[in-house]
Assembly symmetry: C3
């Protein structure tokens, strides 16, 4: 398994998939940098005049509702419909699910279009599955990842999406298989947008890897291990952001294989 994930990481670096992001304002810059460091090519575009065309030239689509508004939501729907029409994979990041009715209604519309992958923290995944009605505390995770597994399984069954619950342990749910990835660093929660970076990197991997749960596991392990190794050279969240990008770019097979802690159930 670990070896296959490393091969997928190399596939992304070699093929440099073009990833179309309709994402939030806060993270556009570090998301683009994370995609470049991982070897992919980012596109950010939201105009209704061109989102369909952009989907047409990209390998995958990333939808992140972090700073949604009506114009951007219409663009997201247009882009997703085009991706579905062209059978291109897309990943949904339900930022702040449960925080407002507007987010919930928007997410309901997007879920109905059956994302290839959904990635969120435990609060978001539970809100998405209505398995839990507690309020999301902003965009941070307030529930432990493992409490959200039932929610992930129900989303997977209902929409066919591979579901990734990220947190101290990252969990990937698809059909009857659940993967547990135990990498990362607590300091990563002090850098804004690493969850959003994870989602975009997933976009890169599902664009070129046919096995979607492997693609998600490869993307999440690349980011978590880069953060874990980067945090050892960091004195705080500022340096971590820098070191993480370096490691996404420079990580060696030996580093990856010696650090990854993954199991399945």
């Amino acid at each position: 398994m670990e070896k296959i994930l490393w091969q997928h990481i190399q596939t992304v670096k070699k093929t440099s998939p073009l990833v179309h992001n309709i994402t939030n304002y806060v993270v556009m810059n570090n998301t683009a940098n994370a995609l470049l460091a991982a070897g992919a090519s980012p596109i950010m575009s939201h105009a209704q005049e061109e989102v369909g065309d952009m989907v047409g030239i990209c390998q995958a689509l990333v939808i992140n509702i972090g700073t949604l508004d009506p114009y951007w939501v219409r663009s997201m729907i247009l882009a997703v419909n085009k991706a579905n029409e062209l059978s291109k994979p897309w990943v949904l990041d339900p930022v702040g699910a449960g925080a407002t009715d507007y987010r919930n209604r928007t997410l309901s519309d997007l879920l109905a279009l059956r994302p290839t992958v959904i990635r969120g923290n435990a609060s978001e995944i539970m809100a998405l599955a209505k398995a839990n009605v507690s309020h999301t505390k902003g965009v941070d995770s307030t529930a432990e990842s493992n409490e959200a597994i039932d929610a992930a399984i129900s989303l997977n069954k209902e929409y066919g999406s591979v579901v990734c619950v990220s947190g101290a342990i990252d969990i990937v749910v698809d059909n009857d298989q659940t993967l547990y990835l135990r990498n990362g660093s607590p300091l990563m929660t002090k850098v804004t947008g690493l969850g959003c970076s994870a989602t975009s990197i997933i976009g890169a991997f599902i664009g070129v890897v046919s096995n979607k749960s492997e693609a998600v596991a490869a993307a999440m392990s690349l980011l978590a291990i880069s953060g874990e190794l980067g945090s050892k050279q960091s004195s705080g969240p500022g340096t971590l952001q820098v070191e993480l990008l370096d490691k996404l770019h420079n990580i060696t097979e030996t580093e990856f294989m010696n650090t990854i802690r993954i199991s399945r159930n």
Copy 2:
């Protein structure tokens, strides 16, 4: 006084207030990182469908007009009205006050809603108070902080807002008290958005500290001291941005107490 400010810094770290930001595109990422590093939780949201709900779940609201346009201004007004209705504190950052009539008109509307705190550089505070009709040179400070004290006092009297004039010396005006904070580094003027970060950190502090002028002084001293200590390990504005975030996260009581230079008049 210094000891009380440190306690407020600890209060923010312990309670992790949720801060709703309607701010400008340029600084969203580093503002979010500054809030996380200081121990708060950032939310960025501007859709009219949800800004009221977001205010409802947050401890404080930050309004920054840096890249204003009519949609965003309406969202700001909606959010401020909700904050006032719920008696939640809010802080106004009048970026570029005086540069255009549109900014001045917008700021006039926002001032009428009586911000809990106003933070700007000397040019902006003077433009806001109409104490000075010279043109703002962009978003940098062209007038010395101390020249703006009269403007700050007049704003404080008219709107009841605590007014912070940031610059080489940060000044906090409230009622008959004026605080002078002599920390920071000239290199901080070469990093974009540190003023905006200051405003957002003020948002975090007024969300959980009842004495608003102490809250502002604590926020400003945390940022200025983090910048001052960070600049000693920096070879330019790139490293300063990184070191400042690390220090916001890691600063110790000894570092803080040994560095702070605050006086009142």
Copy 3:
């Protein structure tokens, strides 16, 4: 020539030109930081209520279509018309030219307003000149700079713009003169928005240097040399972004003169 370019760099630092940017969401933060580090003052503003006023107080205007949409395009046209009316220089960054019909139509409208300078990668410049109908691969360069010289010459002849084709070799075309700048580092392609930063720095230089091709060559050499020197102290794209900003701020005449490799034809 090299000495003159260094003098122009000093002119920017001494005069600190105010540069109005209507640019894309992805790069606003690092563009603003690059302008500050180079000694200029950034303004970012897009509201139709004020873009004309902003042009009025700035020395130059930067138009970058990276995340264009109809509202922003109208703002761009308004701002450019004002710049032309006031005889202020402006630079066009045709991000993603050729990728979609919408971008091509928008660029056609902007070209008709005769930019003072155009800066793009080889793919973009060729798409702009319709010299090549291959699809742009996102915002990265897929064609070698020197293949785009014919396209640059044709744009220069048709619109009178100084044209800069950036890439492994940066090329500056104006009238019968072509400059070749051989600085930089391959790692710069892994940091998002350095092309956009180049364009904004060009904005600063054309704002205060009357010879526009010298202004472009000075801006491009400053950025490329800062990246080249910065990359020597970098272990990846994360550190490069930081080191590059430091070097833009700190570069000495000796470093500049010992590193620059420029020739004309």
